[in-house]
């Protein structure tokens, strides 16, 4: 299709205007308002005790969720690629399920399973609090991030095939040796990509976490919950902007990392 210069430029203008009013201008505005009073004002807002506690809780959740997802994600990916069993299609579908479930429904389902009146309510009776406590927030985050590692590692496993692993096994390597020396080095970039996606989503998850958190400032608020409560409860709009900007910076770092990883994977 040969498009005239005029229509090409008008299409370009429409596209850029749409992206401008939807994405670029609002984000620019937040940045302008966050740093309008200088960097010190921003710094004050993200170093209040509540903000520091929120940041450390978010990082604590990431620190628990990432290793768990790496271990179980790699095991699941290996089972899906290398295993020959009935019902593989069903397992594949279950791995994708979290993408189709609303974050609020994730929260509700966890409450109905782990809450005091839920199926596992006996846990709370015996003193193990899951819902409205850290374990619930971790479970919610694992639910929404579960597909990432599996889905990033799976295609790499397909691609590298089994020959090298079989050769190692024939030469007498144990399962662990084969995994550490052959499989893991081969999947490392896919795994790293999955981990970056997991970190970004864990830091940013809101709906599922707010359902299962007690939401007390300085205690059980993550960064995203802090943004929400500053805007809604404290009417501290500037504080909400500042915390949003912090989250935005973290998200952009994740995005840049992914771009770098993409290039690295392509060259290999």
């Amino acid at each position: 299709m040969i498009v005239s210069r005029l229509s090409r430029i008008s299409l370009r203008t429409v596209a850029l205007a749409y992206l401008g009013i939807l994405v670029a201008v609002p984000i620019g505005l937040i940045l302008a308002r966050t740093f309008g009073d200088g960097f010190a004002a921003f710094w004050d807002q993200i170093t209040t005790p509540a903000a520091i506690s929120a940041l450390s809780l978010s990082l604590l959740i990431v620190a628990i969720v990432v290793p768990v997802n790496v271990v179980f994600g790699v095991v699941t990916a290996l089972a899906l690629v290398r295993g020959r069993f009935r019902g593989r299609g069903i397992v594949q579908a279950i791995v994708d399920l979290p993408f189709a479930v609303s974050p609020i429904v994730v929260g509700v389902s966890l409450i109905l399973l782990w809450g005091s009146s839920g199926w596992f309510g006996f846990l709370e009776d015996s003193g193990i609090k899951v819902i409205f406590a850290l374990p619930g927030m971790v479970l919610a985050t694992i639910f929404v991030t579960l597909p990432f590692v599996v889905r990033e590692v799976e295609p790499v496993l397909h691609e590298i095939g089994e020959e090298q692993e079989q050769a190692a096994a024939t030469l007498g390597a144990s399962r662990w040796q084969t995994f550490w020396r052959i499989t893991l080095p081969a999947i490392r970039w896919g795994l790293t990509y999955g981990v970056v996606l997991t970190i970004a989503r864990s830091l940013g998850e809101f709906g599922a976490v707010i359902m299962v958190s007690s939401g007390i400032a300085g205690e059980s608020q993550t960064l995203t919950l802090l943004v929400h409560s500053r805007y809604i409860d404290d009417h501290n709009t500037f504080g909400a902007y500042a915390a949003s900007t912090l989250l935005m910076v973290l998200a952009i770092v994740a995005l840049l990392l992914m771009t770098v990883l993409d290039r690295r994977r392509e060259t290999e």
């Binding site: 090409r8 749409y18 609002p26 699941t76 397992v91 995994f179 995203t224 943004v227 998200a251």
Partner: protein, 291 residues
């Protein structure tokens, strides 16, 4: 079959293999034997399946009648209706604008194009609550341009357009890159107008990608919470979406109501994804046949 000794012939049925080869095959799988499979299944069940099962069982606590009553309650019906209509609008806008943006990114060239291309991924990377704050700054009470959409349905549409921006663009882009320009040039040299080429060549090729992007955007939109919670206002029967309704029901301990609407959302999302999968496999088969 020429190589009877091979251990890796893919079309050889597994039971026909010598016992030794099977053992090596299993050992080679990096420690994934029946144990690994068991661990994976148990893990998926505990994290994903059991919670979802708990919601479904809870929604039928008062029987099928109770389930229908919960969905049919005026406020629930209104919330579902708002959710579905707004999401449908969002999907349609994405069809048009997403395709247009993909076309501009593939066929047009201008300074700063790579930055624009990177901008598309930003809504996926940003936390949803940040999306809400970001949009409120331009369209909320402190709007510098005097647009106050706070707590209106257009605000819901804008918030959902923001979070679903990448779906259609990113599914159409690769297809458009692969699209053979020679076919278009041939059609043009035979005298076909641009409109005809668009209708007969470009759109039919892009249709599956556009549809799948729009379907994914729709399923994302019906479940969305974080990006609409601040800007939508959650006014019952006006701007309250299904996820907000569910959240309120759980807060006042009406678990059956919340669970029933949750199950309705799940059912809608799964049906859309199921249809997309069928369309996807049909397209794949047609491509295979064309090859």
């Amino acid at each position: 079959m020429a190589a009877p000794t091979t251990t890796a012939a893919p079309h050889q049925p597994a039971p026909a293999r010598p016992a030794g080869a099977r053992k090596i095959g299993r050992r080679a799988a990096g420690g994934i034997g029946p144990l690994g499979l068991g661990v994976a299944t148990l893990w998926l069940s505990l994290i994903v399946l059991l919670p979802l099962a708990a919601v479904i069982v809870k929604s039928f606590d008062n029987g099928i009648g109770g389930f229908i009553d919960a969905i049919d309650a005026p406020a629930a019906r209104a919330a579902l209706l708002v959710t579905l209509s707004v999401s449908a609008v969002v999907a349609l806008v994405n069809v048009v604008m997403g395709t247009l943006i993909a076309w501009v990114l593939v066929r047009d060239d201008f300074p700063g194009k790579s930055i624009v291309n990177a901008l598309i991924d930003l809504p996926f990377a940003l936390p949803t609550i940040v999306a809400s704050i970001v949009l409120l700054s331009l369209y909320g009470p402190e709007s510098p341009i005097g647009v106050h959409l706070n707590a209106t349905r257009p605000a819901l549409v804008i918030a959902l357009l923001f979070v679903t921006l990448p779906f259609v663009v990113r599914s159409v882009q690769p297809v458009l890159i692969e699209l053979d320009k020679e076919v278009e040039e041939a059609a043009a040299s035979l005298g076909a107008s641009n409109g005809l080429i668009l209708r007969k060549i470009i759109l039919p090729t892009l249709a599956p990608a556009i549809l799948s992007g729009a379907g994914l955007a729709f399923t994302r939109a019906i479940g969305e919470y974080g990006s609409v919670v601040l800007i939508g206002g959650g006014i019952p029967r006006e701007t309250e979406v299904a996820s907000q309704y569910i959240q309120k029901q759980i807060e006042i301990d009406r678990f059956v109501n919340g669970a029933a609407v949750s199950v309705a959302l799940l059912a809608i999302a799964f049906s859309v994804l199921f249809v997309l999968r069928i369309i996807g496999s049909r397209t794949a088969r047609r491509e295979e046949a064309a090859r």
